[in-house]
Amino acid sequence: MTAGQLPRWVDLGLIPFLNLAAAFLVSGLVVVLIGENPLEAVQILVWGSLGYGEGIGFTLFYATNFIFTGLAVAVAFHAGLFNIGGEGQAYLGGLGVAFACLALDSVVPWYVTLPFAIIGSALTGAAWAFIPAWLQATRGSHVVITTIMFNFIASSLMVYLLNGMLKEQGSMQPETRTFEDGGRLPFLNDIFPSFGFGYAPVNLSLFLALAACLLVWLLIWRTKLGFEIRSFGANATAAIYAGISPVRTIVITMLISGGLAGMMAINEIMGSQHRLLIDFVTGYGFVGIAVALMGRAHPVGIILAAILFGMLYQGGAELSFEMPNITRDMIIVIQGLVILFAGALEYMFRPAIIRLFTPSQALKAKEA
C-alpha cells in the first residue's frame, strides 16, 4: 500500500473527504442520540456562523487562532515531530504580548507596539518549545511526552504569575490591568464598517495569520531549511547521512512551531481581551492538532480547516442557544471525531479504495 498506487486526486481529495464525512456522520449520530434533529442542527450551525456579519466576524476570529496553532502543529509534522505543546506555548506567548503591551501601550500607538508584541509572543512561545526540543535532539527524550508535561507546567506558572507579580494592584482578579489604546489592535469592524462585523472581535491579526501561512509555505517548500525539515521528517536516517544536522533541524523546527503557537496570543490578548488573563487559550492549542491533520499540514488546507473549526465554534455557540441540549461540548466531540478519522484512522478506507481502483488499472495494463 505505497503512495502512487492511487491517482493523486484520490489520495489528496477523495480519502480526506471520506474521512471527514465519516467524522461528521458519527457527529450526526451523536446528535440523534441526544434526541435532536441533526439536519436542523446543521442549519442553525451554518446560519449562526455564516448567516450574518457578526457571525462571520466571530467565525473569522476563531479561525485566526486556529490558523496559528494549526500552522504550529503542521511545521513540526513536516520534521516528523508531534508538538502537543501548542496549548502551553500559546499560553506563554500571552506573556510576551502582555510585556510588550504593558510597557508601551501608554507611550506609542498600536502599530509601534505590534512588532514588539509579535517578537515577544514568538520569543516566549519558542522559548517554551526550546527545552522539549533540545531534550529531544540531544537526550532523546520524546517530544510528545515533554510537551505534554510543559503544558501543565505552563498552566501552573501562569496561574502563579497572574496571582502574583502580574496582577493589577488592588484587584482581586488574577489578570493584568487593561491595556490602553496603544496596546489594542483595531477591530476589523472599525476598518471595514460596511461588512457589519458588529461586536465580533475579529481584528488585524487575521491578516497576520494569513501572512504567516504564506511565510510557512515559502519556508517549507521554497527554502533550503524547509527542504532539510522535510527530508528529516521523511527519513531521518537518510537526512543525517546527507549531512543534515538532526540537532539543528529539530531545535529550529520546534522553535518555529512554538513561535507560531505563541503568536496566537496576539489575536486573543492584544486583539480581543486587551489584558492577560488565566486560561485564555482554552483548548485552541489542541484544536491546532485537528486543524493540521485535516489540512494535511499544508497552509491552504489549514486555512480551510481553521475556517471550518471557526464555524464549529461560533455556530456551536449559536446552536447551544437554540438547542439547549447540544452544549458546546458537542464541538469537543466533533473535534475528537475529526482527529480520530482524519488522523488515527487515516488508512481505514484505503484498502477498500485501492481494491476499487486496481482492477481497472490492471485491465489497462493488459490492453497496453
Partner: protein, 322 residues
C-alpha cells in the same frame, strides 16, 4: 506532629490510588508496544459510566462494571485505530481524550440536566470505607494505633484493590507465559510473530487489560472517593499517571512508589496551602502542582537515571509488505 504526618500519609494513599490504577493500566499497554496518551480519557469515560450507572441502579458494583465497560470500549477503539489500522498511536490517544471529555459532559447534561454532573449517589451507590477489625479499640495505642486505625484501616475496597494490583501485575508480567509474550511483543514483535504467536491478539489483550484498570481508576474517582461524576473530574490525573509510568521506567513496584510520591506531593501541597515554611517562606501551591511534571522532564532528560521505553513502543506492526 506525628498525628499530622499520619494524616498526610493517609491522604497520600487516597490521592495516589487513581494514579496507581491508571499507571498500571498504562504499563500493560505500553509494555506491549502500544503507547497510550488516552489514559486520561479512559479514566474520565469510566468515571462517568460508573457515576451514571451507580446512580440509576444504586449499586456500586454495577457502577464499577459500567466504568470498566466504557473504558474497555474506548481501549478497543484505540486498539482498532492503532493495532488493526496501524494509525498513529499518539493521535488516536489524543482523539480519545477529546471524545471522552466531550461525550461525558454532553451526555451528562442530556441525561441528568445538572450541568454535566451526575446526581449525588443514593445509598449503596458508593464504595464505603472498610474499617478493619479492632481499629477503634487500637486507636489510642501509641504509634501503632494511628498507623493501624488511620493509615491501614478505613479506606474503600478499591484502594486495597489498587495496591494488590501491584504484585499481581508483577506476577502476570514476569512470571507467566502471557507476560513474557506481552513484554516480548513490546520489544521485538517480529520475533513473537515468527514464533507463531499473534501480535495483534496479544496487543488487543494488553489494551483490554489497560481498559479494565482505567475503569477501576475512573470508578474510584466518581463512586468511591467522590459521590458522583463531575465535568472533567480527572483534571490531568491521567497525564500524571503517564508521567509516573515513565518515572517508574515501566516497572510495577517502581510505579507504586512513584505514584505514592506524586500523591504525597499533592497531599503536602494541600496541607501547605498558605503556610509559611521556616527559612523559605510560603511555597506557592502551583510549585507542588507542577513538581511531578518537572521531575518527569528531568528524568526524561536522563539527569536521574535513564528511562528507556519498550523498544517497539509507538511503532505499528506490519506483518508483511505488499
Amino acid at each position: 506532629m506525628f498525628e499530622d504526618f499520619i494524616l498526610i500519609l493517609d491522604s497520600t494513599v487516597r490521592l495516589s490510588t487513581p494514579l496507581l490504577l491508571a499507571c498500571l493500566a498504562g504499563l500493560y499497554s505500553e509494555r506491549s508496544g502500544v503507547v497510550d496518551i488516552g489514559l486520561e480519557g479512559k479514566m474520565l469515560g469510566a468515571a462517568f459510566g460508573a457515576g451514571a450507572v451507580a446512580y440509576i441502579t444504586a449499586n456500586a458494583w454495577l457502577g464499577l462494571l459500567a466504568g470498566i465497560g466504557v473504558s474497555v470500549a474506548l481501549g478497543l477503539l484505540h486498539g482498532f485505530a492503532s493495532i488493526s489500522n496501524r494509525g498513529n498511536q499518539i493521535v488516536s490517544g489524543v482523539a480519545i481524550n477529546f471524545l471522552a471529555a466531550g461525550l461525558t459532559a454532553l451526555l451528562g447534561q442530556t441525561w441528568f440536566r445538572q450541568g454535566g454532573r451526575t446526581p449525588a449517589l443514593p445509598e449503596g451507590g458508593r464504595f464505603t470505607d472498610v474499617t478493619w477489625p479492632m481499629a477503634e479499640q487500637l486507636r489510642d495505642v501509641p504509634v501503632i494505633g494511628p498507623i493501624y486505625a488511620e493509615l491501614l484501616s478505613g479506606h474503600n475496597i478499591l484502594v486495597y484493590a489498587a495496591f494488590l494490583a501491584v504484585p499481581l501485575t508483577w506476577w502476570v508480567l514476569f512470571r507467566t507465559r502471557f507476560g513474557l509474550r506481552l513484554r516480548a511483543v513490546g520489544e521485538n514483535p517480529a520475533a513473537v510473530d515468527t514464533a507463531g504467536i499473534s501480535v495483534t491478539w496479544l496487543r488487543y489483550r494488553a489494551v483490554i487489560a489497560c481498559g479494565i484498570l482505567c475503569g477501576f481508576a475512573g470508578a474510584y474517582l466518581s463512586i468511591a472517593q467522590g459521590a458522583g461524576f463531575g465535568v472533567n473530574m480527572t483534571a490531568g490525573k491521567g497525564f500524571i499517571a503517564l508521567a509516573a509510568l515513565i518515572f517508574a521506567k515501566w516497572r510495577p513496584a517502581s510505579a507504586m512508589l512513584t505514584c505514592l510520591l506524586f500523591g504525597f506531593l499533592d497531599a503536602v501541597a494541600i496541607r501547605m496551602q498558605g503556610q509559611e515554611l521556616p527559612g523559605v517562606g510560603e511555597i506557592p501551591v502551583q510549585f507542588f502542582q507542577a513538581l511531578p511534571y518537572i521531575l518527569t522532564v528531568i528524568l526524561l532528560a536522563g539527569f536521574i537515571g535513564k528511562a528507556i521505553p519498550p523498544k517497539a513502543a509507538g511503532i505499528p506492526y506490519l506483518k508483511e509488505r505488499s
